[in-house]
């Protein structure tokens, strides 16, 4: 944000008076719609610095200036938060207005003549800046925001080179908000962005403005931690160094960092991130704008689990020896595996893909197993789910589509811990468009009102039998939606429950013309790719007892899937549950160290980029499988990333079109019609995520996440 801003701002000071006319951007949120004509928008024309611009009716003066390509300095204004208008930095001159106006809060009127380069504006900005700096400590050299600070940048561009304030500056007590957000409240300029974020987006009204006048403080008043799964976003929002990252404190300067655009794998949303690295180390992770997925937020786990990338890492191949695991060479490790594989036949060789498995390694593993004559491959977490019909395991409405829903039924899911960013969208749907949200399963606290219908299968059957009042709500809704959690799919009776849910979806019009509200919310990044690639056991393999098991990043496997006498090979990055069980460990790269494809819960393939090199002898997971195939006598026909991706596209063509969502076909419940109705258990539906901060091998290795867990932030 800072880079974009300051360069534009500097251009502004060089001041070309003629502005290029920029037509208003067409709104294309939610991407490809069938209609090509945008809805008619009433527009008005205003003049900004002499050039006319056309803007939608109801826009602010600030929006008019931005449309005209004039950058207006601001602190309190943020396009995703409500307008506060309290920093006064965005003052501009409007003809016939008696005094400078705060452009962020002033509605633009037809034929308004807005001036942003006049001496009045310059003086107003200088004055505001002087007031802001009066009580701001001049500690930029020891401030973590230094180099990416809005106040620093704007003071350079719009401020005076001297101040008249000679009295003592005020001091403000620092607040304890938990292990993630560090506070230096003396630096605060009271823009209230954090307060508005907490109230409007996170839905945790713990932050506020206390006191008045010079004694105003931002804080919690009573001693209280900031209990949100999205609390880290206030660090990005804070225009000064008042709220900074605690784990990142004093570790790097922003200009030393190399930024790599990547994708988060801590949940199934695939939030877009920037991985900031210094040398060979990941220093921090920040969000990257993607309107269709995460807007500009990420969860605390996505942001702060990076210290887990430096701990518990497997950096050399290992094999079980007399005294436990011992480091071996790649050749020795492969030989041991080859020996074990030679003793097993066909379906007795098994592969399990875990939460962090990427598409490239899944397809390589699948090809290898198939070449060895085995169809025994599975994804952990959903023993019974089929992948025949894509729409039965995707979030069909897309993430953006959640906001169009007007009646939402959550089944066996807790989006607040499974996908906090999605929960923020659900919250918006509930609070701003008035969607009714109901839950079947353990009671939830989602930061917005949720109607609790019941605990389990009985309620679901009642809904399906149309005897529950919420059936009517769904039936009457224009865009009803069902969100099925991974916790439900992972149950033994998951299939029978899904059958009921499909029947309910049919009856309530969850799937209709131009709308498919049947959504599955997965709980981890590797799930959908596994299903898309058909990483599921063949009929014959279901009966086979495995003798060799390949755990591909699999740490949360079901014990029953790995027989006690099986020879276990773990391919992965962290010494977690999978590695503990393994006979041979092959060191894989973590998600920041490889360029690989992940498919998010709505079926959108996205690629991570290698930000740093894999540690030690670790390698990209698919290259390990490729090398192993040679030793096992079943060489895979691809030698580089492009070739493996070509193979990926052969199996699942949509994986080539990254960042796009391939719409899936809905087969009108016939997906499940042929399955004999199983019995359902009375056990209550629960979320698959018990502790938001520790869900996979990386977050379990993270000290920061452990601190969050121990302070019981949830």
């Amino acid at each position: 944000m800072f880079g974009r801003f300051s360069s534009a701002a500097r251009t502004l000071t060089r001041a070309s008076t003629s502005r290029v006319f920029v037509p208003p951007p067409q709104v294309v949120v939610g991407a490809k719609f069938f209609s090509s004509t945008p809805p008619p928008v009433d527009t008005i024309t205003v003049t900004v610095d002499g050039s006319p611009v056309e803007i939608p009716k109801g826009s602010t003066v600030l929006h008019a200036c931005e449309t005209a390509g004039v950058e207006i300095p601001r602190f309190c204004y943020h396009q995703r938060l409500s307008i506060a208008g309290n920093c006064r930095m965005c003052l501009v001159e409007v003809e016939k207005a008696p005094k400078p106006v705060a452009s962020c809060a002033m509605p633009a009127m037809p034929n308004m003549n807005i001036k942003t380069t006049t001496p009045l504006v310059k003086k107003a900005r200088e004055g505001v800046m002087e007031f802001l700096l009066a009580n701001h400590p001049l500690d930029c050299p020891i401030c973590d925001q230094g180099g990416e600070c809005d106040l620093q940048d704007q003071a350079m561009v719009f401020g005076s080179d001297r101040g008249r304030f000679v009295e003592t500056k005020r001091g403000v007590e620092d607040k304890e908000l938990g292990p993630l957000v560090k506070t230096v409240m003396t630096r605060c300029i009271h823009c209230t962005r954090c307060v508005r974020f907490a109230k409007e987006v996170a839905g945790v009204e713990d932050l506020g403005t206390t006191g008045r006048g010079r004694d105003t403080e931002i804080g919690t008043y009573v001693s209280k931690l900031f209990r949100s799964e999205m609390s880290g976003n206030v660090i990005d929002l804070c225009p000064v160094g008042a709220l900074t990252s605690k784990p990142y404190a004093f570790t790097a300067r922003s200009w030393e960092l190399k930024k790599t655009e990547s994708v988060d794998v801590s949940d199934a949303l695939g939030s877009n991130i920037l991985v900031d690295t210094k040398g060979t180390e990941v220093m921090r992770i920040t969000p990257r704008l993607n309107e269709e997925i995460n807007e500009e937020w990420i969860s605390d786990k996505a942001r702060f689990q990076y210290d887990g990338l430096k701990r518990q890492r497997i950096d050399v191949p290992m094999a079980k020896a007399a005294g436990g695991l011992a480091a071996v060479s790649w050749e020795e490790a492969f030989e041991k595996i080859a020996e074990a594989v030679s003793k097993a036949s066909k379906d007795e060789i098994k592969g399990i893909a875990g939460k962090l498995a990427d598409a490239e390694s899944i397809v390589a593993m699948k090809d290898l197993l198939n070449r060895l004559g085995s169809g025994n491959h599975m994804c952990e977490g959903f023993p019974t789910l089929g992948a025949d019909i894509r729409s039965s395991y995707l979030m069909n409405s897309s993430i953006v589509g959640v906001e169009d829903a007007d009646a939402i039924l959550l089944v066996g899911t807790n989006p607040r811990v499974e996908a906090p960013v999605l929960n923020a969208r659900l919250r918006r749907a509930c609070l701003s468009t008035g969607a009714t949200v109901a839950n079947v399963g353990s009671p939830l606290n989602l930061t917005f009102p949720v109607e609790e219908l019941g605990m389990g299968a009985a309620t679901l059957k009642e809904l399906d039998a149309q005897s529950h009042p919420f059936f009517k709500t769904m039936k009457e809704a224009a865009n009803p939606m069902i969100v099925v959690g991974a916790g439900l799919v992972g149950r033994e009776d998951g299939l029978a429950l899904l059958q009921t849910l499909h029947s309910l979806a049919e009856k309530t019009g969850v799937v209709g013309e131009g709308w498919n509200g049947f959504n599955m919310l997965h709980d981890s990044a590797g799930r959908v790719a596994g299903l898309d690639l058909g990483f599921l056991p063949s009929e014959s393999a279901k009966k086979a007892a495995a003798k060799v098991v390949f755990l591909l990043n699999s740490d949360d496997f079901d014990e029953a899937d790995v027989p006690a006498d099986a020879f276990v090979v773990y391919v992965g990055s962290h010494g977690d549950k999978g590695a503990t069980r393994a006979d041979v460990i092959l060191p894989g790269a973590a998600y920041t160290e490889k360029s690989s494809t992940y498919v998010n819960t709505e079926g959108r393939p996205q690629r991570t980029k290698a930000a740093v090199a894999p540690i030690g002898q670790a390698r990209d997971d698919w290259t390990i499988v490729r090398a192993l195939s040679e030793v096992l006598g079943a060489s895979l026909p691809y030698d580089d990333l492009n070739a493996v991706r070509a193979r990926l596209a052969e199996v699942a063509p949509h994986m080539e079109r990254t960042t796009e969502v391939e719409p899936s076909t809905w087969l009108n419940g016939s997906t499940y019609a042929h399955i004999p109705a199983g019995t359902t258990s009375d056990a209550p539906f629960t979320s698959s995520v018990a502790n938001f901060y520790m869900t996979d091998a990386v977050s379990r290795a993270s000290v920061t996440m452990a601190k969050c867990t121990s302070t019981k932030l949830t």
Binding site: V166, E167, T168, R170, E173, K175, K199, E205, D206, L207, G208, T209, T210, G211, R212, D215, T216, E217, G219, T220, Y221, V222, S223
Partner: protein, 273 residues
């Protein structure tokens, strides 16, 4: 350095002339004079609020405690809430906090704020914001009588500082403190809007709970009459409310102008209009 010296010189001059023209009694201005002589004007110390805007738990004031409005006050609570539409319940926050403060003998505790938040279905933080913004909410305990001296310009010119100094000396406490017997807290307030009868003090009486709560102005004071009023209160007597020397705000020495009926032209006879 030259600039500093000349500024200092100016400051000295200003101060001298101010003292020369000052009509304040010598005793009361001594403290002021000593302080300003020691600190040059351009480095004068800033005054900070004596009340924190951050809560500190005490045994009687913390979120773990429960607060309930008394049965006697509940009709008042319901009455207050009934004044506002049910979807704008939060509008009742200030009157409810005021009532809670009266019930709490002038002390608005954090548990009372939590209770108000719960009743109005808003986040506690939103109540804390209101309670810390308004200085009439006492987040630290006060005495049975909260005596607030007006500190704004008209009262100050008419001698409010002397009244404050006299009260402080009478009780042996400083501004913001409470007398050892818990009877009086000396505070300051900004303009109370009766400048015509300056100087004045306001006394909030918390001795009789929310029912007998009074919030009275005592106007046209001198240090002596201010002390007389608080002493009367201490004895359980009821001092005269309002101006101490006249009926309302008429001229003290009787009317000096407009003594005879005003000359014409008069208003036309409206009945003929």
């Amino acid at each position: 350095m030259a600039i500093r010296r000349s500024m200092f010189h100016c400051a000295q001059l200003i101060r001298k002339s101010a003292l020369a023209s000052s009509s304040v009694p010598q005793t009361a201005s001594t403290a002021l004079k000593v302080q300003s002589a020691a600190v040059p004007i351009f480095q004068q110390r800033r005054w900070y609020a004596d009340i924190l805007n951050q809560h500190r738990d005490t045994p009687t004031n913390n979120s773990a405690l429960a607060f309930e409005f008394t049965e006697k006050n509940m009709p008042k609570v319901n009455e207050i809430i009934s004044h506002y539409p049910s979807n704008y319940k939060q509008s009742a926050v200030i009157p409810l906090l005021d009532l809670a403060q009266q019930q709490g003998n002038g002390h608005l505790t954090v548990q009372a704020m939590n209770k108000v938040a719960e009743m109005l279905e808003i986040a506690p933080m939103r109540v804390y914001e209101v309670a810390t913004f308004y200085t009439m909410f006492n987040r630290t305990p006060v005495g049975k009588y909260h005596v607030m001296v007006c500190g704004t310009t008209p009262c100050m010119i008419r001698g409010s500082r002397e009244i404050e100094a006299a009260l402080a000396a009478h009780w042996g406490i400083k501004k913001g403190q409470t007398t050892p017997d818990g009877m009086f807290t000396l505070g300051e307030m900004e303009c109370m809007g009766c400048c015509v009868n300056a100087p004045q003090i306001t006394i909030a009486d918390y001795t009789k709970g929310a029912d007998g709560y009074t919030y009275n102005y005592y106007e046209d004071l001198t240090p002596e009459s201010a002390i007389k009023i608080v002493d009367q209160l201490k004895k359980g007597e009821t001092p005269k409310v309002g101006s101490q020397i006249r009926e309302t705000c008429e001229p003290v020495g009787g009317l000096t102008t407009l003594l005879e009926p005003p000359p014409g032209p008069y208003c036309r006879d409206l009945s003929q209009a």
